[in-house]
Each structure stands twice: as C-alpha cells, then as structure tokens.
C-alpha cells in the first residue's frame, strides 16, 4: 500500500494522510482473485447492489410516507398516485426486495455447493448468516409499513411467534407491540427499525468483505490459490464480469418493475388493515415461505417456532457439521447428490408454505422439514467420514494447463 502509485497529486496528498484511495485500490482494483471464478460468484456484488438500491429508494419513499395507522395506507396510495414517479420508486423498492432475496439465496446455495463456509472462512459464512437474519427482519418490518391486511396480519402472526416462549412469552409480545394488539406504537417502532436495520446490514457487509479479503474468494475447485499464477487482479477482469451480471440483473428487475410489479406481492395488501377480520388465507412474502412451511409442519406451538428459527440457526454451525476436508462439490460425488436433494427440498418447502395448511400438504411439509434437518444433522457429518472424494488438482492452473497440453 504505497501512496506513490497515484499520478494525481491531489489524490496522492489525501491518500498519504487518509489512505482511502489505497484501500479502494486494494479492494476493487489490484485485489488478487482466483482466475477460475464462474458466474455463481456474481451474486455477492449483486446483493451489494440490491442493498444500495433498497437504501436509496427507501430514503426517498420515507420522504412521503406517514407512519401512523390512520395515514399509512393513504400515504402509500398517495405515493402511487400523486408523488412524482412515486409509483416507479415504490415498485423498484418492492421488487428489489424480492430480487435481493433471490440473489442472496443463490449466493447461499453457491456457498453450500462449493464449500465456501469451510476453514478458514467460517466467520465469513457466519457474518453472511447474520446479514441474512437482518435482511429477514428488515423485510418483515417493511412489509408491515403499508398497513394493508397482509401487513397487519403478518405483523400479528410473526410477533405472536414470541408468545410461544414459556412463562414470559405474553409479556414479550406486549413489549414488542407497545400495547395489547398490533397498533400505532407497533407501526411507528417498525418504521424506525426498518430505517435503521439496512445500515446495520451495510456495517456487517463491510465486516463480511474484510473477512472475505483475509483469505480471498473461494473458487469452483475449492483449493487454495498457490500464488500469482493462480490469480488475476480484480480490475478489469472481475469488474467487467460483475458488470455483465449487473446488466442482466437490472434487465430482469426492469421487466418485473414495468410489466409484473405485483407478481411477487399479494393482492390482499391493497385492502386497508382491519383488526376485526383476518383474511381467509394469509401467507407471508414468498421468501419466507420455506420457513413458514416448517413452522406449520410441527403440531406444537413452541416446537414449530423452535424448528423454524432452528432452520436458520443450523447454518451458524454448518462449518462444524460438515467435516469433509474437500470444499467443492465437484470432487464430492455423493455430497453433490445430497446437495441437489436439499435444493429440491428447499423449493418444495417454499411451495408447501404457500399452500393451505391441510390434507396432503401438511404431510409433505413434515417430510420436507424432516429431510432438511436430516441433511444438516445426519447426512453431512456422515459424509465427512464415509464419502470417498475424487483426487484434487495440485493447483488452479493445473487442470487448465493439462487440457491445453502446456507444461505446468
């Protein structure tokens, strides 16, 4: 990190005293990156972009939103009808929330497939799970703000989860509500926290990146880089690759915003909140459905809540559940089969969470829930012992040079 590499004397003067340019240069320019990253490594930058879009549009929306039970719904409708470009800004905020989760889910499954959570990247992974939890809390509170029927009953059901806590449950829920039902105090505190939490996420993202840059990105082969011959500089190679991903992301986002803005929402949330009547079939936003399915699969209040939170909590200890020394699924033939079974299981839970809690759906939810925990608690630890993995290449360069016939 020498300041002399900048040609602009003003930049050099500042950097000598405040090395922000050196930090940026190190982070986004010369940062050595494995040269074999595929497009699955695009979702980190896309998640970062999503966070920026959410914060920018959210700050703008807050200029016209009123956090009060009597005005919240109307203020959102005013944004949609009267505020200049308000419809566009709100639809971008709504749809980017969904896209943020799509991107983060792909990011998580990328990590699962290529073993990115393994030593020495355990803290990097754990920070990612923290971000995921913060995202879920932020998204939930944001969904309450328009004060439609789904907002109100979503808030009621989710806060009531805490009533499952033995002895103090009811007191905790009263505390969360600031009263004896979801009402104005609940709405105002949710607005405050919804504004705060994205900045907490941004802070954890910084830690996530610091932890990432300690050992560098994992890669599709999952073996450590062995020096300069295995890496390329972040700029221009991965900046360009990230921009390709960003262009695709924005294209899909624009299609959603302009042609299907409410496809990932629920029409009942355009009905003003009515504390006297619950809609016949309430569902959370789609990105919560797998966890919602787990909650409903268990025929016990406390048990359902515990398993639902456990489904996320289990990710925290994943680095110690999977003891296999091989990271990438490319060299783990049995793990690869179970990975895809888990992927299908997660999709199935998502589907089942959106179905009515009756008949065959309940049975299937239970099977899928059991499989989810079986995967992490039994199959992964056993694979670490019994699976015979394929031989690993000596370096990232080796398989490439071998196929082109050049000497290593």
């Amino acid at each position: 990190m020498s300041a002399a590499k900048f040609s602009n004397p003003v930049v050099r003067w500042i950097d000598h005293r405040l090395p922000v340019f050196s930090m940026l240069d190190h982070t986004a320019n010369e940062y050595p990156t494995p040269k074999n990253l595929n497009y699955m490594w695009n979702f980190g930058s896309l998640a970062g972009l999503s966070l920026v879009i959410m914060i920018v549009t959210g700050i703008v929306l807050a200029m016209s939103y009123t956090a009060h039970v009597d005005y919240a719904f109307e203020s959102v409708e005013r944004i949609m009808r009267d505020v200049n470009h308000g419809w566009l800004i709100r639809y971008i905020h709504m749809n980017t929330a969904s896209f943020f989760f799509i991107v983060v889910y792909l990011h998580i499954f990328r990590g699962l497939y290529y073993g990115s959570y393994k030593a020495p990247r355990e803290l990097l992974w754990i920070l990612g799970v923290v971000i995921f939890l913060l995202m879920m809390a932020t998204a939930f509170m944001g969904y309450v703000l328009p004060w439609g029927q789904m907002s109100f009953w979503g808030a009621t059901v989710i806060t009531n989860l805490f009533s499952a806590i033995p002895i103090v449950g009811e007191s905790v829920v009263t505390f969360l509500w600031g009263g004896f039902s979801v009402d104005n105090p609940t709405l105002t505190r949710f607005f405050s926290l919804h504004y705060l939490m994205p900045f907490l996420i941004a802070g954890v993202v910084v830690l996530h990146i610091v932890a990432l840059h300690r050992f560098g990105s994992n890669n599709p082969i999952g073996i450590d880089t062995k020096g300069r011959q295995d890496t390329i500089s972040f700029h221009p190679y991965y900046t360009i690759k990230d921009i390709v991903g960003i262009a695709m992301f924005l294209l899909l986002l624009a299609i959603a915003v302009f042609f299907f803005p409410n496809a990932m929402g629920h029409p009942d949330n355009y009905i003003p909140a009515n504390p006297m009547q619950t809609p016949a079939h309430i569902v959370p936003e789609w990105y919560f459905l797998p966890f919602y399915a787990i909650l409903r699969a268990v025929p016990d209040k406390l048990g359902g809540v515990l398993l639902m939170f456990g489904a996320i909590a289990i990710l925290f200890i994943l680095p110690w559940l999977d003891r296999s020394p091989v990271r990438s699924a490319r060299f783990r033939p049995v793990f690869r089969i179970f990975f895809w079974l888990l992927f299908i299981d997660a999709l199935a839970l998502g589907y089942l969470g959106g179905m009515p809690a009756e008949g065959i759906y309940v049975t299937l939810s239970r099977v899928a829930t059991a499989w989810y925990f079986l995967h992490f608690l039994v199959i992964l630890p056993m694979l670490g012992v019994f699976e015979s993995t394929k031989p690993l290449p000596k370096s990232i360069s080796e398989p490439v040079l071998a196929t082109t016939g050049e000497a290593a």
Binding site: V60, R78, N84, I89
Partner: protein
C-alpha cells in the same frame, strides 16, 4: 486501461495515433452509463417537487362580501397567508398620494389592485418570509399605516409597498380573478 489499449493502436502515416475501436467502445460505454445514471437519478430527484395533490390545491376561493370597510381578513393560499383588505377612501387616497416611481420597488397603486377598494397581497414579508403585523385591530401597522414586519422592521404602506426597512420588494400581489362581485379566486 489506457496502457492496455495502446497495443491495438496503429500509428498512421504522420505518426499520430488513431483512436482504436477499443477506445470507441470504452467511451461509448461510459457515455451510456452516464445517460443511464442520469435517467435513474431524475425520478429520485423529481419526487421532491410538488406532488399532483399539492398542485391541485393551488387555488383558493374567497367570499369577500363580508369584509366591511377598513377590515382585513387572512386566507390561506398554497400554505401561505393572503391579506385581503377592504380599504377606506382615506387609505386609497394615501396610497395614491405618492408618486409610485420614486419608491424602492417602483409601482403605482392602481397597478396593484383590480378594484381600488379591495387590496389582495401575499402576507409574507419579502425580506425573509415572516408574516407582517397589521391585520388585526390593535396591531402595529408601521409608519405608513399598512403593515409592519416585527422580525426585522420593514414598513409597508396601504398598498402593501415597501417604504422603510430591509425588505427589497413590495408585498407580492397573487394572481386572482373576480368570479362574481362577491367571490374571488386566488391562484
């Protein structure tokens, strides 16, 4: 970036390097990026301009028949006070007694009213936006018997023109029409 593109440049006959196709692509990419950023920024900035419902409230109708001679009322127009005063013959005479061209903000009284007895001005001091006194009986009306702004001491006459103090211009006359003899619409 410039270094890596220089390889693809070929010197022309006079030794000057021609821009390469790579340079064109780079400039075109930056230009498109700038256009895109501006297009995205505009809605985020424009949303701070008055919304459609705010613009829809930009006119106010007032029944002026109840104002007796010498009395003034204050109405709200676009969130600001508007002073409507039915002036006495004496006040009209005093407003016309001076040559408007000699004032700080030169204007004749007749240019500021549609009917001499009814003066309509925006009740916001042109100095820094305070509301001048002089509407209520008992208010200080200043040295010229019009309005007096207590914030920084501007004196307005019976035509709402600045006569003394820091304000640079006369009280603004809003656009208004007589819908009938008794009703005016401001805005």
């Amino acid at each position: 970036m410039a270094k890596s593109t220089s390889n693809s440049k070929s010197p022309s006959a006079d030794g000057v390097q021609e821009p390469a196709r790579r340079d064109f692509i780079v400039v075109a990419t930056y230009a498109m990026g700038a256009v895109g950023a501006a297009a995205v920024a505009w809605p985020l900035i424009d949303q701070m301009n008055p919304a459609a419902d705010t613009l829809a409230l930009a006119s106010t109708e007032v029944d002026v028949s109840k104002i007796v001679e010498g009395q003034a009322i204050t109405v709200t127009w676009r969130g600001k006070p508007v002073f409507i005063r039915r002036r006495t013959p004496d006040e009209i005479a005093r407003a016309n007694a001076i040559d408007g061209a000699e004032l700080r903000d030169p204007q004749e009284d007749e240019a500021r009213v549609q009917r001499p007895e009814l003066l309509v001005v925006v009740g916001v001091c042109t100095h820094l936006g305070c509301v001048p006194l002089g509407q209520k009986t008992g208010d200080v009306k200043g040295d010229y018997d019009g309005w007096f702004c207590p914030c920084h001491g501007s004196h307005y006459d019976t035509s709402g023109r600045i006569r003394k103090g820091p304000a640079p211009t006369n009280l603004e006359v809003p656009p208004y029409d007589f819908l009938s003899d008794n009703v005016i619409r401001i805005g």
